[in-house]
Symmetry: C2
Subunit: 341 residues, 2 copies
C-alpha cells in the first residue's frame, strides 16, 4: 500500500487535503473550515454541544479496529449524544493527534469514515486541528446540533409511573468486543490462524460500526411523542438508569425478560460462558436510546418497531429494581464502564 509521509504536506496543506472532499450541506453552516472559527446561524433553533475524546489503547485498539471504522464510529458516538437530547447533529469539529507511524493514507481512511458518517447523518465538518503526537492516536470531536426550544429532552424530566423504554437491543456491542478480544489473543503470534467471525457479523458490526438512532428520533416526532427524559446508552443500561433516576428523582422497576437481546449476542455469551443480561446492563457502547414517556403514550409506543418498554418509573424511595424471570428483585448498581479505574 502506498505510504505518503505526513511531513509531505504542511499543516494547512494536510488539513485542506483531508477536508476538501467534505461538502457543506446545512443552511445553519455559514462558514466551515478555513478561518479562526466557524460561523453558524442558530437564530431559529437552540444549539446543542457535545464532545468526546478518544485515545488509542483506552477507547480503541488499532489491532482490530480499521481506521475507517474508527473515524465513522468517532463521529457517530457524538451524533448519538445529540439525538439523546431529541435534537439533530448538524456540525462537527475534528481534532487529530497523530504520531509518525501514521501516513497520509491512514488519515485519509479516518476522514473517509468521518465523511461517510457525516453524509449519512447530514452533518457538516466545520473545523478542527491536526497535530503531531509523541505517542498514540488521539481523536477529539465536538458536535453541534439543533433542537426546537420546546422539544429538548433532558435527563431530569422523568415522572413516577412513566414508561421506561429502550431502542434496538443491548449487550451486542459488548459481545462483539469480547469476540474481537478472543480472536486477537488466538491470532497473536500465529499467522496461520484466521479469525473465526462466521455468523457473528451482527455483533461485530455493533462494536465496530455503531449507528446513532436518528430513525427513532424521527419516528417519535412523527408520532408526536416527546419523551419525558432521555439519554443514549454508552455505558450500559444500569449506569444510564442510574443517571435518569438520580436526576429525575425517581426509582424504577425494569423487567429482565423485557430487555431486548439479539440472538447472535446471546449465542456468543453462551459460547463464552457469560451472562448476556449482565452484558446488556453493564456492557455499554450500544448507542441505543433509553427514554421515559408518559403512560398516555403507551398505545403509540407499543406499536412502534425498534422500541421495547422494559419497565416503569417508581417513587425515588423504591430505588432501582431489576425484576428477574422468577419475579425476584435485584437492586441495580451503576457499574458503567469507567476508563479512569
Amino acid at each position: 500500500m502506498k505510504r505518503t509521509e505526513i511531513a509531505t504536506y504542511g499543516e494547512f496543506g494536510l488539513i485542506k487535503h483531508l477536508t476538501d472532499k467534505f461538502k457543506i450541506e446545512n443552511p445553519s453552516t455559514l462558514k466551515g473550515v478555513g478561518d479562526d472559527a466557524a460561523v453558524l446561524d442558530y437564530s431559529q433553533k437552540r444549539v446543542l454541544v457535545t464532545t468526546d475524546l478518544l485515545l488509542e489503547g483506552i477507547h480503541f485498539d488499532l489491532v482490530y479496529v480499521p481506521l475507517m471504522h474508527l473515524g465513522y464510529r468517532a463521529a457517530v458516538v457524538n451524533f448519538s449524544d445529540i439525538y439523546a437530547m431529541n435534537g439533530h447533529p448538524k456540525q462537527i469539529t475534528v481534532s487529530l493527534g497523530i504520531s509518525k507511524r501514521f501516513s497520509v493514507e491512514d488519515l485519509e481512511q479516518i476522514y473517509a469514515g468521518i465523511n461517510l458518517a457525516c453524509e449519512k447523518y447530514g452533518v457538516d465538518l466545520i473545523g478542527g486541528d491536526t497535530s503531531a503526537s509523541l505517542t498514540g492516536l488521539t481523536i477529539s470531536i465536538t458536535c453541534i446540533g439543533e433542537a426546537d426550544a420546546d422539544k429538548i429532552v433532558y435527563r431530569n424530566g422523568a415522572k413516577e409511573n412513566d414508561l421506561i423504554c429502550v431502542t434496538g437491543d443491548l449487550g451486542s456491542a459488548y459481545m462483539g468486543l469480547q469476540l474481537l478480544e478472543r480472536e486477537k489473543i488466538a491470532f497473536s503470534g500465529n499467522d496461520d490462524v484466521q479469525p473465526d467471525f462466521e455468523g457473528k457479523d451482527y455483533i461485530l458490526q455493533r462494536q465496530l460500526k455503531p449507528e446513532a438512532r436518528m430513525d427513532i428520533i424521527n419516528l417519535l416526532a412523527e408520532k408526536g411523542i416527546v419523551p419525558t427524559a432521555m439519554m443514549d446508552i454508552s455505558d450500559g443500561l444500569s449506569s444510564e438508569l442510574f443517571h435518569i433516576c438520580t436526576q429525575s428523582n425517581i426509582g424504577c422497576r425494569v423487567y429482565e425478560d423485557k430487555i431486548p437481546i439479539n440472538y447472535q449476542a446471546a449465542v456468543m455469551a453462551e459460547e463464552l460462558n457469560m451472562n448476556i443480561v449482565t452484558a446488556a446492563l453493564n456492557g455499554g457502547e450500544d448507542y441505543e436510546l433509553l427514554f421515559t414517556a408518559s403512560l398516555e403514550d403507551y398505545d403509540k409506543i407499543v406499536t412502534m418497531e425498534g422500541i421495547a418498554i422494559v419497565g416503569h418509573a417508581t417513587k425515588s424511595a423504591l430505588g432501582l429494581q431489576l425484576v428477574g424471570r422468577e419475579g425476584e428483585e435485584i437492586e441495580l448498581k451503576a457499574q458503567g464502564w469507567n476508563s479512569l479505574k
Copy 2:
C-alpha cells in the same frame, strides 16, 4: 503536597468535583455540564466555533509550565480565535486525557487555571470529557462564541490600500520560550543552579500566561471600527500575513521598523545572539491580533493605544514584501511553526 489518586473518584464524581466551582454567567448558556449535550440560546447572535488540541511534549513541556498556567493558556488561546472573528467567547468544553502520574490535585490546578481564564473573559464551562491516557497529558478545548451577524470579520475581506495593523508587541512569547529552554538545559542535572529569570518577567509571562485581546475588540467596537480582515497571531506574523493575503487576494508591504518589539524581548534576543525581527515574524504564540482596516479609519487607529500600523495592502501581484530599515525589500515567507514537521 497532598496526592489524591484519580481512581478515588469515579469518572462522573471526578468531573463533578472539578467543575463544581464553575459558575454559569451567560444568558446564552441554558444548560451546562450534566446531560448528553449542553444547550445554548443563540437566537439573537451568530455562533462561532473553534477548537484546539494540546498534547504534552508537542505543545507544552511540563518541566517548566505549571499546570495552572497550562489550563489558563489552553483556554485563552481558544478565546483568542473567537476575538479574531470580532466575536466574544461565551462557552467552552474541556476534554482531558490523563495518565496515572497525575493526581486529583494536579487536575484541580489545571481547572483552577481554566476557571481563572473563564472568569476573566466571561466564559462558561459547559461540558467535556475526562479519560485515562496511556501516555502524556492531552487537553482538547472547544470554544463557542457570539458575534453580531454584520460584524463578523473573516480573513478574506482585506482590500488594496487597507492599513495593516498589529496589536501589542511581537516576538516576546518566543523569546520567553528561548529563555525557558536555556534555563531548562542549564538546570538539568544540576540541582544547585537556580534559573536566572531576573528582569525577564514580561517575556516569561507572554510565554506562560498569554492573554487574548478582548480589550482591543471592545476598543474597536467603541470607536466604530470594523476591520476588513482579522486573525490572531499564533504562528508568527509572516504566516498570518500569508493567510490574509492569500484569502483576500492581496499583497502587502510591511515595514520592519514599524513592527512593535518589547524592550525585554530585544535584550533577550541580543543575549542569545538571535534576531528579534525574525522572532517577531516567525516565532508565534503571541496571541496578538493582525487586522486590516480601511484607510478611512486611519485617524482613529493612529491614536489608539496598543495598535501599531505596520504597513498596507497592495495588489496581489506585488507579493508579500518586508521593507527593511535601509529601504531594502525582502519577500516574506510563511515559516510558521508547524508541529507536523
